[in-house]
């Protein structure tokens, strides 16, 4: 079993989606995330074990390599795709036993901003690390974040912005959420954002990369 977990983690790390997928070359004609996940389920392994002992392990490796500039966006997207193939098998099981995921993360690009590559990457990495992700899309107003937070108590909110002008909206949204309920944790990120700005607007965490949010969530969410 350990060996299958390891193989599955490897598939996620390198983006081996299924048997026909040609990548990575050294795994040509071998089973991918799709087949191995099915095989593990067939052997009676729980969805939660598969998630914790294989998928998250693989995804974490990608997150760390991305942070260290050892891999770039395309590799992360390949891994996300392999993750998605595995999750397609697991999701029906999670639907039956709510709470088996680690927690909920609500993410969106702030009002006035339409950039979404960075936000999508963060969403994929967080999901790949075992959290339920509610993606509100781009150009999201404060009310929408608050509404979602009401619907998912205990969820952490992530805000993304790519322009200095929309950083101002990030500040307003953060203040609106905090005045609604100051216990809601807010993480922020995006090219022009930094730690000083985070401290200034009263957000809980700034991270330059997706792995940072994952670590923050692992610390914050029980």
């Amino acid at each position: 079993m350990e060996e299958l977990f390891e193989q599955l983690a490897y598939c996620i790390e390198y983006g081996k989606i299924n048997k026909p997928s040609p990548f990575p070359p050294d795994m040509k004609d071998k089973d991918g995330a799709d087949e191995i996940t099915q095989q593990l389920l067939n052997e009676g392994i729980s969805a939660d074990d598969i998630l914790q002992k294989a998928l998250i392990v693989g995804m974490e490796k990608v997150g760390v390599k991305f942070r260290e500039n050892k891999v770039f966006v395309p590799q992360v997207l390949m891994s996300a795709k392999a993750m998605d193939a595995a999750m397609a098998h697991l999701k029906p099981h999670f639907a039956n036993s709510p709470g088996s995921q680690k927690g909920t993360f609500i993410i969106g690009t702030v009002e006035g901003d339409l950039h979404d590559i960075g936000k999508n990457l963060v969403a994929m990495m967080v999901e790949g690390n075992g959290y339920e992700v509610i993606d509100l899309g781009t150009d999201v107003k404060a009310e929408k974040f608050i509404e979602a937070a009401e619907q998912y108590p205990g969820a952490v909110i992530g805000l993304s912005a790519l322009l200095t002008t929309t950083m101002n909206n990030m500040e307003e949204i953060t203040k609106a959420i905090k005045s609604h309920n100051r216990n809601i944790a807010i993480c922020i990120g995006g090219a022009p954002v930094n730690q000083d700005f985070c401290d200034k607007i009263g957000a809980d965490s700034y991270n330059p990369d997706p792995q940072g949010v994952v670590e923050f969530l692992n610390k914050t969410v029980e």
């Binding site: 040609p22 590799q75 390949m78 006035g112 339409l114």
Partner: protein, 240 residues
């Protein structure tokens, strides 16, 4: 000195074909590692297929300018560009305002691919859009340069609001020099241009100005995702 100022706003359309974008430059900018499979076929198909008729266009307008400390004064309007850009433009006697877009087709295609779960493909098309607008802008800049050289003038690099201490908010002032919806581009309250794959800015013109080659080592955008990547230095916006 020669004056290039006229009431005419020049507007150009570009075809995807004439931009001669190669799969290699897209893959390199997207940071596709050598150990990833090649998507050259996909990129070429998109360029010749779905994106073939993208509404790529841009335009410019030349106005007299005066540089005082960190401010550039154009027709009574003050652009607070900060020390770096003011320094680079210091000997400019005129300024060419520009805007350029790769059109909305890119974002439409990106959304379509993302909805199908083809994230890597969507990302590549997104990068293609960035390359398209920058390459179109290179062409527009070459047109401006030719006009200047023919009149014994030289140009500086191009500079955009949102870079090097020039507040992105001043884009509103820059856009006020163009007619509404010029080249199909609109500006939101938060200074975001639609279509997303658009750029704006200006280029200094004068007898004594200088064009500088970009070097990552001299750029302060240390967290730029393209820093020290192979080919990105050809693109001024993409290198921070």
């Amino acid at each position: 000195m020669q004056s290039l100022i006229s009431d005419n706003i020049v507007r150009k359309r570009f075809s995807v074909e004439e931009l001669q974008i190669t799969a290699e430059e897209v893959e390199s900018l997207a940071r596709m590692d050598e150990n990833l499979p090649s998507y050259a076929g996909f990129i070429e198909d998109e360029l010749l297929g779905r994106l073939k008729n993208a509404s790529i266009q841009g335009g410019y307008l030349i106005e007299p300018a005066e540089v005082v400390d960190e401010t550039i004064i154009i027709e009574g309007n003050n652009f607070e560009v900060g020390p770096t850009i003011a320094g680079a433009l210091s000997n400019s006697e005129q300024v060419a305002f520009f805007v350029c877009t790769a059109g909305n087709e890119i974002s439409e295609r990106v959304n379509e691919l993302n909805a199908k779960g083809d994230w890597l493909e969507a990302y590549l098309v997104d990068v293609m859009g960035s390359v398209m607008v920058e390459t179109a802008m290179d062409k527009l800049q070459a047109i401006i340069e030719n006009e200047c050289v023919a009149n014994g003038l030289r140009i500086t690099n191009r500079y955009s609001p949102g870079y090097s201490g020039w507040n992105v908010k001043e884009q509103a002032l820059l856009f006020s020099f163009f007619p509404e919806k010029f080249c199909g581009i609109t500006l939101s309250d938060s200074c975001l241009m639609h279509p997303v794959k658009s750029v704006s800015g200006f280029i200094g013109i004068g007898t004594k100005v200088r064009y500088r080659k970009h070097a990552c080592s001299q750029c302060n955008a240390t967290n730029c995702i393209y820093r020290n990547s192979k080919k990105h230095c050809d693109f001024s916006h993409l290198n921070g």
